[in-house]
């Protein structure tokens, strides 16, 4: 029975983690930009849901609105700031880091540095014999699957997806074929931001709303994207599943503080022996 609860907990954490990494992975793999403001996009999604709750509106409506709200923020940032960084990935990291810091401190000011809980649309847990399974986490696992499949279909089976991939492969040829790469970059970035907003909205009932809620996910998300490497969108998902599952599973056998470090050590070892990561793509371009 503890095997079931173990499996569920690992699955639930991996799902949350995949949800967070998805937006980052889309932007990193499709645009070659490491978005250091990603954690704050997650935060903005969570904040949107909190605003709905505070105004007495249903929380699920906030969760629906979160990706759109964050997409708009992402679009504005792309049009004004991010587009200037496409040729300089390192400057992009610093630039997005600065944006993230401003967003984080802005939200902190709005919350007066406080923590707030958001109550999930599904409260409580199912009792399966001796173990309890959180209803909301089960719902998050399902929604993660849906979003994964949806995003994958969007990027591989639609005209938009084709244009995105063409822009990634060869921007000059894409432009020559009549694709506005400018618009594609803007759309991709705000799509990535929307995914982050959705992740924030769905996970805020599990954690609590505070200005730093995106921070612990950020570095591990980068690890996931690096692990995924050049494999594009699917690669990031695989990386996220690995990092999420090992972060949740390792503390069952070793000290949590050691586990936290070990996740990085294992991931770095994998990157070492399978070096077709993002860095190699940067080097070749």
């Amino acid at each position: 029975m503890s095997v079931v609860s173990f499996a569920f907990d690992v699955l639930a954490y991996s799902a949350i983690f995949i949800l967070v990494v998805m937006g980052l992975g889309v932007i990193a793999s499709m645009m070659g930009i490491f978005n250091f403001a990603h954690g704050e996009f997650v935060l903005l999604g969570a904040y949107t849901v909190y605003l709905f709750q505070e105004r007495g509106l249903p929380v699920w409506a906030g969760m629906l609105a979160a990706p759109f709200a964050v997409a708009v923020v992402g679009l504005l940032l792309e049009r004004t700031v991010i587009r200037r960084f496409y040729a300089a990935p390192v400057a992009a990291m610093l630039g997005t880091y600065a944006i993230g810091l401003s967003l984080r401190e802005g939200v902190r000011g709005l919350l007066a540095g406080q923590f707030y809980s958001v109550i999930s649309p599904l409260v409580g847990s199912f009792d399966l014999g001796d173990i309890s399974v959180s209803k909301w986490k089960a719902a998050v696992i399902l929604m993660t699957l849906l979003v994964m499949v949806g995003s994958w279909l969007l990027l591989t089976r639609t005209r938009f997806g084709l244009q995105v991939r063409a822009t990634l492969e060869n921007p000059a040829l894409a432009r020559a074929s009549g694709i506005s790469t400018d618009k594609i970059y803007a759309a991709t970035f705000s799509f990535g931001a929307a995914l982050a907003g959705l992740a924030g909205g769905l996970m805020v009932p599990i954690y609590s709303l505070n200005a730093d809620m995106g921070v612990p996910f950020l570095i591990k998300s980068f690890l996931a994207v690096m692990l995924g490497g050049a494999g594009g969108f699917e690669g990031s998902m695989a990386g996220a599943a690995f990092v999420g599952a090992s972060s949740a599973a390792l503390p069952w056998v070793i000290k949590p503080v050691v586990a936290d470090v070990l996740v990085f050590v294992i991931a770095i070892a994998i990157v070492k022996f399978r070096p077709e990561g993002l860095l190699s793509r940067w080097r070749s371009s």
Partner: protein, 409 residues
Amino acid sequence: MDQDDYKPRLQSYSRRLFVQRAGLLSGMVALGGGSYLLNPTGAWAASPIKVGIATDLTGPISWGGIPNSNVAKMVIQDINASGGLLGRPLQMILEDTATNEALAVTKVRKLVQKDKVDVVFGGITSSMRNAIKDTIVNRGKTLYIYPQLYEGKECTQYLYCTGPTPAQQCDTFIPWLIKNGGRKFYLPSADYVWPHVLNAYARNVIEKNGGEVVGEEYFPVDHNEYSATVQKIMSNKVNVVFNTTIPPGVAAFFKQLYEAGFQKNGGRLACVYYDENALNITPAHEIEGLASCLDYFKAVNDPYGNKLQEKYSKLFGDKNPFTAGSAATGMYRGIRLWAEAVRTAKSVKREPVAAALDHARIADGPGGGSEVVPGTRHLKMNMYTAVAKSGKYEIVEKSNGPVMPGECA
């Protein structure tokens, strides 16, 4: 825009440009957060006494720093309204330490060297206290008063601690937990100095009172996945979870514990920094029955505390409440005790004020009066045990008079 357009601009990134930008950046970092001056109102014949407040108005600890600075403002205004100290008004110089120890050292250096303040209050985390104390006390030759509940063992001369110590938070609380929870304890903790030292003390008290520590575990401070620990707690049939994980990680932990059915099975959750402010971190039903032990709760319902609360809300609203876990009560006692010492010493110089502070007392305060235990630079004060019920605290036990700090004796 075309990506190729950026190439020339990148190549022209000269050394001069780099130096200019690096200079600008380091200048911005050095200036950091804000610095505020609150001058006394009205006409005063004498020059002001300078009170330095260094606290975290921004960054992760701002939930504590904001009420700290609010309380300081309120008490200093009160003192000025009733004629100041020694016929002189108090001037408050507030520095935002931004939850950043390196920046804080610069800030307190400014307070003691440039502003030449007569006393410094502030710091919330132990790491902050450790970072700034030397600059204030040894190199700055200034009195330092630290307001937060903490792990004890701070016996630096000229450094006074006005928050509760492990002895005050454990000696009566743990026997209560054994009686109202059970004998089997689990100590899940954040991996930094306060939980480590507090747990060592708590373990001792638990074992002395016939209890047993089933597990003690440390997590990175922002950890957010606790299923392994929750499983161990449930399968070992633990009675009391004595928690020292902190926000933000604590929210995920309490939720997982609740969803696993810990409270439903009769388990007791305990956490000694949990105050009214912390009740917002998780939905009320997830921490139903949580027990805490602090120097003040609103539920103590003492007339003096109520009056302070009313005044505080009128001045600052309710977004950053006046509570014990954020060190706001410690800040209140600290400034009042220091003011008493200045009156007794008839001076603001360090030596005479320290000598007077050594046995200073105030008859009232939130939760009751308090006094410095001579020779220890710590306070004895009333302690209260409270239990969370539907998002509010109920006082279940009050200490039998002031409790000794048990430090630096």
